[in-house]
């Protein structure tokens, strides 16, 4: 009898470890899957089927703090308030939901996601310790889902993989000094410079020819106006006898 009771007691107080691992949403591809202070998880559909009476909470912890998180911590207690995250609290609980919020199966075509970090209004509000506020740094973070009946934990998922958020670089790192010159610009500059040099050389040659006067003659041609026609007076033989008489 006693061994049977001893066997039953752990089962009554044990938390069921579900095999599900929370993942970032990959279907559909979201531009905002990870931003500097938020990330997007798939909803845990068809995971907590047997726990219709439980509240399903999301636990967000710093990487490395998973082991120090106690499942029996009540959500909203100061040790795990969002406002004390990440220092001194190293984890917090948020996004309270019930099985009714996560109907199974998921209707095709619906986008069922959880955006962690979307509530900015309560981020500094100490009266809202379970606020889904923006994450304070790039992480890395780990998350898991925890089902509580009353305040007794009954089921939990695995901890997720490390979630690292992107960090913004300063705009000073953008180099605007030219990326070199395009082929077109080099072609224009080279060809035009060569043409101009040829023209200047031809001008110089032309003026040298003119001043040295060395090439007058052979195939020159004359200007139209300088051609003059001299008029000849013709003496008619027939007029002379008339003049003598």
């Amino acid at each position: 009898m006693l061994p049977l009771l001893l066997l039953l007691l752990p089962a009554a107080h044990g938390v069921v470890h579900l095999g599900y691992m929370p993942v970032l949403t990959t279907e559909p591809r979201l531009e905002g899957q990870k931003t500097a202070s938020t990330f997007v998880l798939d909803q845990p559909r068809c995971v907590f089927k047997d726990y219709g009476n439980a509240d399903i909470w999301l636990v967000v912890a710093l990487d490395g703090a998973e082991s120090s998180f106690n499942n029996t911590d009540r959500p909203g207690s100061p040790e795990i308030a969002f406002q004390s995250f990440p220092n001194p609290a190293r984890a917090y609980m948020t996004l309270n939901a019930t099985l009714a919020n996560y109907p199974c199966p998921k209707p095709a075509g619906d986008i069922t996601v959880l955006r962690v970090g979307s509530e900015t209004s309560c981020a500094k509000d100490e009266m809202r310790p379970t606020c889904n506020g923006p994450l304070p740094g790039p992480g890395p973070y780990r998350v898991k889902f925890l089902a509580l009946e009353g305040s007794v934990p009954v089921a939990e998922t695995q901890w997720s993989e490390k979630i690292m958020l992107p960090e913004a670089k300063s705009s000073n790192t953008i180099s605007t000094t030219g990326s070199g010159h395009s082929a077109g610009m080099i072609a224009i500059t080279t060809i035009l410079s060569i043409l101009f040099a040829i023209l200047l050389a031809a001008l110089v040659a032309m003026l040298v020819f003119w001043s040295s006067d060395s090439c007058s003659g052979s195939s020159t041609f004359s200007k139209p106006e300088s051609v003059t026609v001299r008029r000849y007076n013709t003496h008619h033989v027939y007029d002379q006898p008339a003049a003598r008489l």
């Binding site: 531009e31 202070s37 605007t176 010159h181 500059t189 035009l192 043409l195 023209l199 031809a202 032309m206």
Partner: protein, 256 residues
Amino acid sequence: MAKNDDCVHILQGLLVFGNVVIGMCGIALTAECIYFVSNPHDLYTLLKATENSDIYAAAWIGIFVGLALFALSILGIIGVIKASRTLLLLYIILMLITFAFEMASCITAATHQDSLTPELFLKQMLERYQKSEPANNSDNEITKTWDELMLQNHCCGVLGPSDWQKYASVFRSTHTDADYPWPRMCCILDAQGLPISLDGCKLGVPGYYNSNGCYDAISGPVNTHAWGVAWFGFAILCWIFCVLLGTMFYWSRIEY
């Protein structure tokens, strides 16, 4: 000699034809540059803010060069027909000066087109879009220009909405990342100017935000402008080169 006369007439005819073409091209260049200068597209504010608006200086030079080419072509035609050495010498020297100016204009337009890289616009956008205390009016103008650009071309940022995530900006310092991963103008808006789905836009669901960058919309008009000034000028200069060589040959053969 009849053969020499024929050669003379052919050369004169060619030079007159060359000058007529130069005259017409001069008018076309003036008209094109007046169009560019008087019809600045909306991106003029962005270009002016980059302190790199020499493309407009090139267009202004183009206007005066075009008029000069027209006047010189008339001088050239008269000089060729009259076979006057002084007129033609004057023509050659003035044409060389005009050639030099137009060369400067072409090279300026081509060089500055190269300098308008995406990085230049990205840096300007990050540092001045929605600046909370605008230092001068041009910051407001830049914000307005970018808003219109993103609205009309259905685009976001220079390379995409990720510009706002990858880099810190003055926009980010006044708008939290959770509420505004990217500006509201990047969302697809309805007739009233409100996002059709704010959550969809913040999440980045395809169909509720603009995922393309605006660089293509910026570089299109700027490239057309630069090509118009640089390459058309280059073509005219090649033609002028040939006509000038012919004129110099003709000049050296005129009997004084």
